[in-house]
């Protein structure tokens, strides 16, 4: 069967259960697609042998019947997830050669459901970036392009986004600290979900900013995200912030019926100088939801403007603390020392040689805002503003709003290298619509909703109430069926 790697999880599941194909065939098809796509820079550690072993076991389970929906489905894994015995280096030189002796809870959960893992996916170093240009493995290329210009797939889960959009795997896992699932999903025309903080265990995920990080699925359809998210969730005793809230059958909640749902349109997201294309995409989205029977209301989230500056205090502060562990002693790369160099020199040189520029910048900013004399002025103030941002959402939800509709990004994918000369803050603006969701710990989803005048995908974001991913995905499912987005990048790689 040709092109079975282009299937959605739902399609593949049905064919696997109907015994029309095997997981082994599906996996081989993805492996062939991966090997032909090195130009995209998405897969950085391939594990075809492991994948085929998993596929064979999945086929046995499928033969017995009663297999999980993900059984036999080939997935890609962001390099941030520890996979036992497989290189895991968060796209950083400092973790060169690191092979964990343990498995992250999320990947273990997926494997327990019978999923097949094809290998590790490229990303921005330590998940810090919005263009996938800070990776030690090199850039990831967006399968979508304009004439001969190479575009960013977004970041930090750029490899995951690129791999799914190019059909190298049926779906992938990413992580989202400020928009790192949703922004690349929007740039590549796929669906990405950031669950409520605490839904998925963070154990075995290389930590960036622990109060913001969440894992989530990146897929070809809303239904696929519902199928994939369910086994990823649940309480894990290895992560005390993971929740034991019941995990519903998300897929069963996709009825498409959103009559009477109240959708908020936040006026503060209408930025000055916003591209008219984004503006009209947003309006069209609101119209479609209204057409499906939802009530669309204007809402206000007054502290929106301060989300990005608060994030750029809190995330670097947590990162500076989390990344203190990379000292060249217990794991990762140590600088080559000359005779007489002290342990302090070992730390300093290992870290300056091992961390890329953006990571160094953020670790140092974090160090500064946490340092004596500035802790109150920066870090504590940012945490107070974070409380206010969360309160904004609580106020809106208390008026009966079920979900909030916004654009995912202020623009379509931009050209690789375009931001090179820009100051760091300009790159940070990519996350302006997504970062509030992490600060408030809410679930968010990005779905492809249309094409720009240049023919690039554009995304809309829905933000839900805490723990209401099912309801959120159902609203997204309704919007997805109305937009009817089916475009795919033309294969050039």
């Amino acid at each position: 069967m040709a092109d079975i790697n282009t299937w959605t999880i739902a399609e593949a599941r049905d064919k696997l259960r109907a015994k029309e194909i095997t997981s082994e065939e599906l996996t081989l098809s993805c492996i062939a697609a991966i090997d032909a796509a090195d130009a995209l820079g998405a897969f950085v550690h391939k594990t075809p042998d492991e994948a085929l072993d998993q596929a064979k076991s999945a086929d046995l389970l499928l033969k017995q019947g009663d297999a999980h929906s993900l059984c036999g489905i080939p997935l890609g894994v962001k390099d941030l997830f520890a996979c036992e015995g497989v290189p895991t280096q968060a796209a950083s030189k400092i973790l060169d050669g690191f092979k964990p002796g343990y498995e992250s809870t999320v990947t273990q959960n997926l494997k327990n459901a019978g999923a097949v893992t094809l290998g590790k996916l490229n990303m921005d170093e330590f998940a810090m970036g919005s263009s996938n240009e800070t990776s030690v493995y090199g850039n990831v290329i967006n399968p979508w392009k304009i004439s001969d210009k190479l575009l960013t797939p977004g970041g930090s889960s750029g490899g995951s986004a690129s791999a799914v959009a190019a059909d190298l795997c049926l779906a992938a896992i990413g992580t989202d600290t400020g928009g790192s699932i949703r922004q690349p999903a929007a740039f590549t025309g796929i669906v990405g979900v950031k669950p409520t903080y605490g839904r998925c265990s963070r154990w075995g995920i290389v930590a960036f900013a622990s109060s913001l990080d969440q894992a989530g699925p990146m897929c070809k359809s809303v239904r696929d995200t519902a199928i994939m998210l369910e086994p990823m969730c649940g309480f894990d005793k290895k992560d005390s912030t993971s929740s034991d809230n019941a995990v519903p059958n998300f897929e069963a909640m996709l009825t498409g019926d959103i009559k009477g749902k109240k959708i908020g349109i936040p006026r503060e997201y209408r930025l000055e100088g916003m591209s008219p294309q984004i503006e009209s995409l947003w309006q069209d989205g609101a119209e479609m939801l209204r057409g499906a029977g939802a009530e669309v209301v204007d809402i206000s989230l007054p502290h929106t403007k301060y989300a990005l500056p608060a994030y750029y205090v809190i995330a670097p502060a947590e990162a500076s603390s989390n990344l203190a562990r990379y000292d060249g002693v217990r794991f990762g790369r140590r600088a080559t020392l000359s005779a007489g160099e002290s342990i302090t020199e070992m730390y300093e040189r290992s870290r300056s040689e091992g961390f890329g520029m953006e990571v160094q910048r953020r670790v140092m900013i974090g160090t500064y805002v946490l340092s004596a004399g500035f802790y109150d002025a920066y870090y504590n103030r940012a945490r107070k503003v974070r409380s206010l941002i969360k309160q904004d959402f609580e106020n809106v939800f208390s008026t009966g709003v079920d979900a909030i509709l916004t654009p995912t990004t202020p623009s379509a994918a931009f050209e690789l290298g375009k931001m090179e000369s820009a100051d760091p803050v300009e790159m940070y603006l990519n996350d302006v619509f997504t970062v509030t969701v992490n600060l408030a710990g809410l679930p968010g989803i990005s779905i492809p909703a249309g094409l720009s005048s240049e023919g690039l995908p554009l995304g809309l974001q829905l933000i839900g109430r805490p723990w209401e991913e099912g309801d959120l995905m159902n609203i997204a499912y309704s919007l997805e069926s109305t937009t009817g987005f089916v475009d795919k990048p033309e294969k050039w790689w």
């Binding site: 964990p100 109060s211 301060y306 790369r333 140590r334 342990i343 760091p424 803050v425």
Partner: protein
């Protein structure tokens, strides 16, 4: 608040990241751009607002304080850049 060369050098030292003398000016400049952006937070009235400690209202789970894992010396040391005789090895710390 403006960061000068000396402050940039002090922050680099605190973060245990070696920064070249020649790069200190551009580093200070980048810090100032980022901090300039962050300083918008001063416009917000935060009087009486509690700093957020946990984004979800749930209580952290408690467990009995007992060893649940261990005896994995080889696994623990397997990724060390320099491990000898069951220990992590580092340059001499005490003269």
């Amino acid at each position: 608040m403006s960061i000068d060369r000396a402050t940039a050098a002090r922050v680099a030292k605190l973060a245990r990241i070696k920064v070249d003398e020649n790069s200190l000016d551009s580093l200070a400049n980048e810090f100032n751009q980022i901090l300039g952006f962050i300083e918008q937070l001063n416009e917000v009235d935060v009087e009486g607002v509690e700093p957020m400690t946990s984004v979800s209202p749930q209580k952290l789970k408690r467990r009995v304080d007992q060893v649940s894992d261990g005896d994995q010396q080889d696994k623990v040391l397997s990724n060390a850049p320099d491990a000898r005789e069951g220990f992590f090895a580092v340059p001499k710390v005490v003269e």
